[in-house]
Symmetry: D2
Subunit: 339 residues, 4 copies
């Protein structure tokens, strides 16, 4: 941490900061510059509130130097983590791109089985589908609950696809984990720390979506919650952020892919459905995500988007998905991967 | 809802949309304009996914007309809701400004009692203090838990202040509600719908903070979750949003105050501590919030911010708080209210 | 500047950075921390591209320490600047609040004279009105040009109000300056550096609006362009920024007021009309801006907003303005100022 | 345009809106819904301020239906525009990807010639390089001026590359156009309408960068300014927007590529250098842009980024550029294009 003093600070002001630094168990190092004095605080103390020093007289600001995450970082593990997804041996994080596809919500057995067969045939390794839905309005369809989980399990039995489904609350983790192959933490729950701790006690892989205003640091700290609770199998997922743009529902910032690859050993996949909000943009952003180096995709696919109960506007048809998979495969090969 | 067709759509395209509209149980009304055709869909169907129609051929976009919230809206209740806070008869939402103050975290009994006495003397009606803390990093101080709640209760016994403290998970609601006068839902949990439903089954007032990227509509829908579950006592709280600004931790958008007053009967208070992230800005933004028409404030106050375990950078001292309360009172009178 | 090295850097990597620092004419200072090594670069070199060092091997990032502006900063001038506005002795930046009001565009002589009389009577010191309009669409009304400037001059002759009007291009500065008392640089031109240099060669005060995505640093650097060209009479104006909010046209971040007061000696006023985009929010945000410590306001007022040629949605009537001025005066007194 | 009335409006309120609509020369059409009444205003009147109606009593809001741009839109021209760039027959907008590369600033003849030869050999069709630089700080290097333009011309003579360089002010257009093959309008000038009109009177192609907070609509309206002044040769360029993200200098929203392709016939290229701000991200985002369907790239390349006078942090070396071009070519082939 670097404490930047205001211009005009006195030696007593600097000494006061030095003492605060020592009280935190850190070593101090004062540098008197031409215009500004700074106090470097040396030592690895991730768990203390260094910001408090900002309140000391004549302190201008605090600049943290150490990233606050550890087990998610490349500092502790250089080689990429490869996460096993489902019983069929599929993985995410290796040279092969892993694509998860399926409807926003499980609606009927026929809907989910049809979709499963079609996305399997097109090359997906996982089936997504919500049984418990986080809905912005209390009046919206909230999902089929356990009945939906059972339908997903039937689709897995038939197709071998790994089941990826969202868990929204601590008391549902056991139930959802008894059906799912991958536990999804939605963007709205990325900061639900209690939930992160509980899925951290599972062994099932966790698909962790970035919050819609989360910084990269907060995203990796959410992974750190899960990992430090004992579960190393975290798949990061970028799903778009809130910005001033209006032609999309969310802005999909693909530069997060090289940024994550630089900071962390965890795999990262991209959700172009939520990441744009419009079906017509999804194929282009699937291709772009893979070209940027993403380890996979999660895509909303519905056999009849015009009649979908949820997220119809951003769901592509099974035909469009098959076509998109062909394009994704070509791009994957172009960047030295397979799909 | 208005369905805007693309230029060049055929009568068959329009007819297809008309049929989709009818399938939703809505009445259709086609308007052929000079350049564009639109299909108005008439009827009050809040719980269906109208966006799916965006997927139909030659549809350009969907424009919703009805606000999706109801019990939180002025359409069902014109007069402002006044929420009783604590046993001492204090209220938020009436002509008198209600100010809640206290440390980010409960740290020690002495810390919380000292703060309680000082903020009470300065005119606060409530004492804030976190016992369970939502922390971005798993390595940060996570709060004293129930021990902290007990300290808060002792401070209430001594000062009569209403206790406002955060509840982070469904399985903690009963415990927290047994000590608190007001249940706080933090910004990171505004979209934790399971938690909203459970506090909606309490009778205790709920202080609902706006999520850091939530739209006004989503904010009111979160209130709607609580209210539609049976608890009408919701106090909205603006705490700043994530933007491109870097001289603040969050941008505090005070225009939300007149916007909420136009849309809803619920009271709204402002949190200038999280809303800026810097102690030196807090007094100015307390005054501004009241001038904008806010019904109250929630302010982080610490007897020794330089040594605070959490949020030191944005906590003001007890002295600064007392001075700020004098200023707030003057502004309140200037806008025809008391404090 | 602080250069933060990546973990695992070698002494040769650090030495390479040290040499780059010395090539910039700066003094180096290496600090080896527990986890990270940093190189502090000491010296005041505002005009060089320090970011280039980010490209050196094993450099993680660069942290600037010095603010890049100088004459706009409090480091060179502690006491607030008071800017004289017009011939009648009015000022902005002193204890008295200065309010500028008038229509978005000058439309007719009657419109501008009526507005001038009404806002003068209500207590305004300046009359705003666009003669050359920056319009997002080439098909929109582009202003009356010099004819509009002449109408403004007539309104000044009659009322004594200072004339504030926008100059959009280098080759119009002489013309506009021959009529105006204050040259307005619009938000869209805050980064038009050629224009900033030219108005910097005038003696007329400049009202500089913040760009809609400009950082505080960029805002002050735009002022620095004008001031370093020789014109110290800069009035800063916050007019709202682009964010993810949708219930406003722009988000008005009032914390910029205390931030500017901390960093700069220049006065700052607030534009709640563009800052919100909706007439119904303007009175509340006028009060809030003054409560936050702003030195004045610039408000769009039109005698008949329903028929305004431009910005009708955010223009208040003359009646609402008079009422708002009463409220603003009360708030100004509450915070120890006059209006 | 659709005027949405507030709940509780009277027939007189609706009639008042109907009259305002008629005064604008539009046809009215009232729809009384279950909860809300709306007034549709029919007719193509792009140049009037419809927002003013928002001020009428009991009006809730205005929803525009027509896009305000015309000659830039697909409504008037379906087939993609292909823009000829330079004398050598290169184009942007056809099946072949067009890549423009070069340093941020022209620094020396050797620097620009070396770069030109290297990027030409790697497959670029254009050479970028700033002679007049828009710099955020008045103390930063402002470019070599006409001397820089001459160096660019020499590089063209030797390599045949088309010269792309920025023009920042109206009175420089003739000078810059006498050397350049493509006139670049920088992001900070996207809203400099006077400049747009003047380059609209040139015949040279214009590379128009999106403003850092501009909406898609504003971006296309800026193109409309140029085109409606007579110059149809506009190449759009996405260069990143300001958001809450901090690990990048700008967020690069690649979904703008399919969005532009849907709305406009103009070609769009991507600038991953400004679009991220960090050299290490540039190759990934070059690949992603092409995969998303962009018609080309503009990339900052410097023979020695560690010593670049400007934008060193985001400039890649000539070696990295050559490698990136190989990757881009592979991706281009994968999506059915050449490079």
């Amino acid at each position: 941490m670097i404490v930047v003093m205001k211009p005009g600070c006195t030696p007593a002001d600097v000494q006061h900061v030095v003492e605060l630094v020592r009280q935190l168990g850190l070593k101090d190092h004062v540098i008197v510059g031409t215009d500004r004095t700074v106090v470097a605080a040396i030592g690895d103390k991730r768990g203390i509130d260094k910001g408090a020093i900002e309140n000391a007289p004549m302190v201008d600001r605090i600049v943290p130097i150490l990233a606050p995450y550890k087990v998610a970082s490349k500092e502790v593990k250089q080689e990429p983590s490869v996460i096993r997804v489902g019983a069929a041996g599929a993985t995410i994080g290796g040279p092969k791109i892993g694509v998860i596809a399926g409807p926003c919500s499980v609606e009927t057995e026929e809907q989910i089985l049809t979709t499963a067969r079609r996305v399997r045939a097109a090359g997906a390794i996982g089936l997504r589908g919500g049984a418990f839905k986080p809905r912005t309005s209390p009046y919206d369809f909230q999902g089929l609950g356990e009945q939906g989980l059972k339908m997903l399990a039937r689709a897995r039995d038939e197709t071998g696809l790994a089941i990826v489904t969202e868990v929204m609350a601590v008391d549902m983790v056991d139930l959802v984990a008894s059906y799912a192959d991958v536990l999804q933490i939605g963007a709205r729950n990325m900061h639900n720390f209690e939930l992160l701790k509980v899925v951290g006690q599972c062994r099932k892989p966790v698909l962790l979506k970035r919050g819609m205003a989360a910084t990269l640091e907060e995203f990796l700290l959410a992974a750190e919650y899960i990992m430090s609770a004992g579960n190393p199998n975290v798949i990061l997922c970028e799903r778009g952020i809130r910005t001033s743009e209006t032609y999309v529902r969310n802005t999909l910032p693909l530069a997060v892919v090289p940024a994550v690859k630089r900071e962390s050993h965890l795999p990262i996949i991209v959700d172009p459905s939520h990441g744009t909000g419009h079906a017509y943009m999804v194929p282009a952003m699937c291709r772009a995500a893979i070209a940027a180096g993403a380890d996979g995709l999660i895509v909303e696919v519905h056999p009849d988007p015009e009649h979908a109960l949820t997220d119809g506007a951003q769901s592509i048809t099974c035909e469009t998905f098959a076509q998109t998979m062909n394009e994704v495969r070509a791009v994957a090969h172009a960047v030295g991967r397979t799909a």
